[in-house]
Amino acid sequence: MVETPTLPIHEVASEIPPAPRGTPAWLRQIIAFAIIAVALVAFWEGYKALGAATGGMIPLTAARLPVRPDDKSMPHVFDILAALFKPVQRGSENTLLSFLLRSALFTWREALVGFAIGSLVGFALGVVFVHSGLLERGLMPFVVASQTVPLLAVAPMVVIWGSRLQWPAWLAVTIISAYLTFFPVTINTLRGLRSPDPTALELMRSYAASDWQVLWKLRVPAALPYIFTALKISATASVIGAIIGELPSGIADGLGRSLLTFSYYYVSGPEKLYAAIFGAALLGIVFVVIIAQVERMVVPAGRRIE
């Protein structure tokens, strides 16, 4: 068989979107964050200044401002920042900042283990469900029910069981954290594993690929953007789970106890509670940023859900 001579092909690949010139992405992120932070501080202080001027009333009305603008309810941002560098209590050598950092790190360790366990369980459930409609139909209602039961009711039970089984206290906290973590991962993993087109699956069938190969070469890579979205939700949830878990388990070194203690002493030092809240928030942000970084390394730019 003799065939046509080769023709030059003049097709142009669509342009790869050029990287924005000048400021790198991470710097733009920080600048945007800083602008919003400044705006929030300005709003907070502006609200206080307004309240001071009107005696706590909404201007031109007889209505009170929803939150009292005094220093007890809303300490100055500067006071909150200043409190970070003062001793955590009278006579202590530790500043509030180092105390909070240590508490946050402690809580994060629990959250991290809980997150890891919860994510693995969540992923495994997603994989099981995509292969077995029967198990999905049978188990899914329980999975959903597990998330509607209030964590405040579940946490003490886990702690009690844990102590009966002579677990170390942090393990119960970790389980509670995992309990809050696995659900979004299950739902999103399942969704992601089902996302390939029928033809993408038929292609694998035409290669006589095994279920295992279909899972790892098609379903899981296709699910990654979904899974990472879930991991970001779960990261914040794992921190909440760890903080709540610390309360009934009597762990004194984490953010949970700090938040509780500072809320007891709110009247004498409200800025400490606010500082602790920011500590918890910061922990969540750091966690999510780390996961976003991992996602950047694992998922090609064209596929990220952003």
């Binding site: 690949a13 035409s206 290669y207 690929a209």
Partner: protein, 265 residues
Amino acid sequence: MSHSSPVVSVSGVTKVFGEGDSDRVRALENINLDVHPGEFISLIGPSGCGKSTLLRLIGDLIKPSGGTVQVNGKSAHQARLDRDYGMVFQQATLYDWRTVRKNVQLPLEVMSYAREKREARAQEMLKLVQLEEFSRHYPWQLSGGMQQRVAIARALAFEPSLLLMDEPFGALDEMTRERMQMELLRIWSQTQTTVIFVTHSIPEAVFLSSRAVVMSPRPGRLAGIVEIDLPRPRAFETRESAPFFEKIVEVRECLRRDEVRVASA
């Protein structure tokens, strides 16, 4: 050609979708077809004639309700397990987390080729479809025509004896489509692969094929087979030659005769 044993042998095949339901569809009825080594066969007909269904039966993506499909002297099922055929769909169906190179290697990974062999084959295939310089691009960075060429490279990477193509150029514009047809003929002549090509374009079927298998709908069946003995290599001039138009007329007549027969029945 009839002396060699057929690559594909379809005999007495019927396919009913939704068997047992009141709204079951008789997609194919009593299909008999032999495809010989090195042939380029088009399955052509209006939508609903079952041409894609027939292709998918040959590829063992679905099972027939009756009759037998043999590929390389084996059952279609065994042929699929033996990786006897490559498949190209209307959508390129590239995995968009893989680069072009990695997409071409996908079947080789599934079939446990050694890494060096995979790299070498992918290189060779991308050269064949003239996309070497795009090996590290991602699918979404390529035009539709280029994506479809990657899909062809992927289908041929493991050297199947049979290439099944389901309206592969259906989503492309007319100009790209004609260029892709030339490309495909060049690749076909270089690889000696047997091709079964589903299309609803009469000029496409005539330009490409050695035989056009004309099908008609409700229920899907063979209306006739048109031998297309236009000289090869076929080129742009082929499309403007008198014999080309004669063959187009012949295929069209075949389709119309069947319509008339159905209408008068």
